[in-house]
C-alpha cells in the first residue's frame, strides 16, 4: 500500500467536498492504526514522527465535540488556557494546514465574501474563510492579544459575533513597556481571565492545575533550549527537520505533557545526531526570520542542495526565563512581555543580533509574508543591522498560505543567488 497515493486521494476528496465532515473523515482515516503506521513509517525524524502522531490525535480530540474549545492567537500564554482545561485551537496555525491541504483558493474566496480585503495577511483570511465554510470546530471561548499582530483581535471578534459568544471573547492588552506597572497591568488581566473563565465553565478555580501547567511549561522550555544549543553545532543536519513545523506545540501546547515529551524526544534525537555526525562536514548557517510557506515548496531543498542549513528559526528562540509556578499570573505576564515582537522593533533586532552572535550565523533570510505589517515594517532595519555586521540578508517576498503568491522560478533564483553569495564568502 502506497501512503502517498492514499494521501493524495484523501486530499483530493477534501478539495472536492470541502466541509467539516470530510476533515473529520480524514482525521479518522489518518488515526486508524494501519494508516497511521504506514504514514509515520515514511517520516525519517523521530520527533517529526511524534509531532505528526500527536497532531493527528490532538486534532481528533478537537473535532470530537467532547472538549471545550478555545480559539487563540499565536502569542498567548497557553499555560493559562491549558491550565483551565480548555483545548486550544489556533486558527492562524490551522490556516497553515489549509495551505498544506491545497484548499486556500476556496477559503480565501469565502473570506473575500466577508469584506476581507486581499491586502490582509492570508493566515487570517484563510482562517476566516475556513470558519465561514464551517471547517473549524465551534469554540466555547476566544482569546486574542495585540502582541505583534493586531489583525487577530479583529478577525477573532468576527468569530465571536458570528456565534454570539462576545461575552466569552477576551482581548489581552499587552503594553509596549515591560516595567513593573506593565507587569501588574498584564498579570491582572490574566488573573481576571482565569477566574472569569472558571466561573463560566461552572468550575472551581483550580490553581493547582495551573501551577502544574507552568511546571510542564518549564520542562518544555528547558528541553527546547537544549535542542537549540545542540543545533548550534549540528552540521550533519536532517533537512526534514524544521522548527517552523513545531509552531503548534511550541506555542499552543505550552503547559501540556505532550509538549514536554515532544521536545524531549527532539532534544534526544538531535543529541544523537550531533554525536554521530561527520566531523568534517561544515555548512553555512542561516537564521530564518518570520514563518515559511506551508504548501509544498522547494526553498529548504535548495538550501540543503547548496550546503546551507537553518541553524535557528526566529519562532524557535527561547526568549523567556523560567516561570515561577507559585506566581503564575506575574510569570506569564513577564513571559509575554519578554517576547521580542513586543514594542517598536528594537526588541526584535536585539534578539536577532543575539542569535547572530551566539549561533555564528553566516546569513539571514527574512520571509516577507504578504500583508504582515508587524514583520515587513522592519525589513530595512533588519537588512541594515545585519549588513553592518557583515552578514548578508535575503528579504524573500512571498506568502506563507496562498500558493498563488509563490512565483517558484523567481524564488528559486533569489534563494540560489543568495546561496551563491554565502558560499563565495
Amino acid at each position: 500500500m502506497n501512503f502517498e497515493l492514499i494521501k493524495s486521494k484523501i486530499i483530493k476528496n477534501i478539495q472536492n467536498n470541502l466541509n467539516v465532515n470530510s476533515i473529520k473523515r480524514l482525521l479518522k482515516i489518518l488515526s486508524s492504526k494501519p494508516i497511521l503506521s504506514l504514514y509515520t513509517s515514511s517520516i525519517k525524524s523521530i520527533s517529526d514522527k511524534y509531532l505528526n502522531i500527536y497532531t493527528i490525535k490532538y486534532m481528533n480530540e478537537v473535532y470530537s465535540g467532547k472538549y471545550p474549545i478555545a480559539y487563540g492567537s499565536l502569542f498567548l500564554p497557553y499555560e493559562l488556557i491549558n491550565g483551565l482545561g480548555l483545548k486550544p485551537f489556533l486558527p492562524e496555525v490551522l490556516a497553515g494546514f489549509t495551505a498544506g491541504l491545497g484548499v486556500t483558493s476556496k477559503t480565501l474566496k469565502a473570506a473575500s465574501k466577508e469584506w476581507y480585503s486581499s491586502d490582509l495577511c492570508t493566515f487570517h483570511r484563510s482562517a476566516v474563510g475556513a470558519f465561514e465554510l464551517d471547517l473549524f470546530p465551534k469554540p466555547s471561548f476566544i482569546f486574542a492579544s495585540n502582541l505583534a499582530c493586531d489583525a487577530a483581535g479583529k478577525s477573532f471578534l468576527n468569530f465571536a459575533k458570528k456565534i454570539n459568544i462576545e461575552d466569552r471573547y477576551y482581548l489581552i492588552d499587552v503594553p509596549h513597556n515591560d516595567d513593573n506597572e506593565s507587569i501588574n497591568f498584564l498579570s491582572q488581566q490574566l488573573e481576571y481571565i482565569f477566574y472569569d473563565v472558571s466561573k463560566k465553565l461552572n468550575k472551581k478555580p483550580d490553581l493547582e492545575k495551573l501551577k502544574q501547567s507552568l511546571i510542564n511549561s518549564n520542562k518544555f522550555r528547558n528541553f527546547a533550549q537544549e535542542a537549540n544549543e545542540i543545533r548550534k553545532n549540528l552540521f550533519d543536519y536532517p533537512i526534514y527537520f524544521n522548527g517552523l513545523n513545531y509552531i503548534l506545540p511550541f506555542f499552543g501546547l505550552c503547559g501540556t505533557k505532550e509538549s514536554v515529551n515532544l521536545f524531549k524526544i527532539m532534544k534526544d534525537e538531535l543529541k544523537e545526531k550531533l554525536l554521530n555526525q561527520d566531523k568534517e562536514k561544515k555548512m553555512k548557517k542561516v537564521l530564518w526570520m518570520h514563518l515559511k510557506p506551508y504548501y509544498r515548496n522547494e526553498i529548504f531543498n535548495i538550501l540543503e542542495k547548496n550546503n546551507i542549513r537553518v541553524v535557528l528559526e526566529e519562532t524557535s528562540f527561547i526568549f523567556w526565563d523560567e516561570l515561577n509556578p507559585d506566581k503564575p499570573f506575574e510569570s506569564l505576564a513577564k513571559k509575554m512581555l519578554s517576547n521580542p515582537l513586543r514594542g517598536n522593533g528594537e526588541n526584535r533586532i536585539k534578539a536577532m543580533k543575539y542569535i547572530a552572535s551566539t549561533y555564528n550565523i553566516d546569513g539571514v533570510i527574512l520571509f516577507s509574508h504578504w500583508g504582515c505589517r508587524q514583520s515587513n515594517g522592519l525589513a530595512r532595519i533588519v537588512k541594515d543591522t545585519f549588513n553592518n555586521m557583515g552578514i548578508p540578508v535575503l528579504i524573500l517576498d512571498g506568502d506563507c498560505v496562498d500558493i498563488n503568491n509563490y512565483p517558484s522560478g523567481q524564488i528559486k533564483t533569489r534563494v540560489e543567488g543568495f546561496a551563491e553569495i554565502l558560499n563565495s564568502i
Partner: protein, 263 residues
Amino acid sequence: MYYTCGIDIGSVSTEALILSIDENKNYEILSYIVSKTGSDSKNAAYDSFKLALQKANLAENQINSIVATGYGRVNVEFAKKNITEITCHATGVTLLFPDVLTIIDIGGQDSKVIKIDKVSKKPIDFLMNDKCAAGTGRFLEVMAKALEIDLDKFGEIFLNTKDKVDITSTCTVFAESEIVSLIGHGVPKEKIIKGLIYSIADRIISMVSRVGLEAPVCLTGGVAKNSGILNAIEEKLKVKLKIPFEPQITGALGAAYLAINYI
C-alpha cells in the same frame, strides 16, 4: 587552452557565448549569439549553442564545459552546471569593467540590481523586481504596441521631447489603459513616451536605493540599448552609466568564464 560556453536563457532572449580560456583565466570571446527564446527554451538553448559554435568554427566535442544561467537554466540538460544570473551577470560585468560596484540589469521580464564587493569583485547583495512586469522590457513592448509606435524610436523621441505626462499606474495592464485614455484626451504620444520612460526609471531608481548606490554603475540587458531609458536613469541617478559593447551578453560571458571551474 580550453573552450567554454555560457548560455543565458531569459524569458525573451537567449544568448550563447563561446570563450577560449587558459589556466590563468586569460580569455578571448570567440563568438556570441543573441536570439529570441520563443516558446521552447530547450530548443532555443541548443540552437543558440550550435549557432555560436558555427560562428567560432568549433565542433560540439571541442567545448570543454558549459554553464547555463537565466530563468530557463534548468532546461539546459547539456550544461555541466547551472548558476544564477546574479552571479553570472556580476562575473561578466566585472570582466568588462573591473571597477563597477553596482549593476542594473533590465531584461525582458525582470529587472535586478546587483551590488559588487570592492575587494572580492563578487556579488554581495541583489534585488529583483516583484512578479509583475512593470519596469521591464515587456512593459515597454506592451506600451509601444498601445501607442502604435516602434519601440526603437522611443530613445530618439525621449531626447527630442521637452515635456512629459506622469504615468501613475505601475501595473502593465492599468498603464496600458491609462495610455489609451491619454491618447483619447489628445495628449501627444511623445509626451506619453517621455512619461513612460521616466516611470520605468523611477522603479529602477527605487530598487537601486534599496540596495544602495555605489558608482561606477553598469547598465545591462536588452533595455540598455534604449537611449531614452539610459538617459533617464543617468539623469535620476546623476551618474554616468557604463554600457557593455553588447549589453545582452554579460550573463552568458560570466557563465562561460565560470565554466572553467567545472571542467
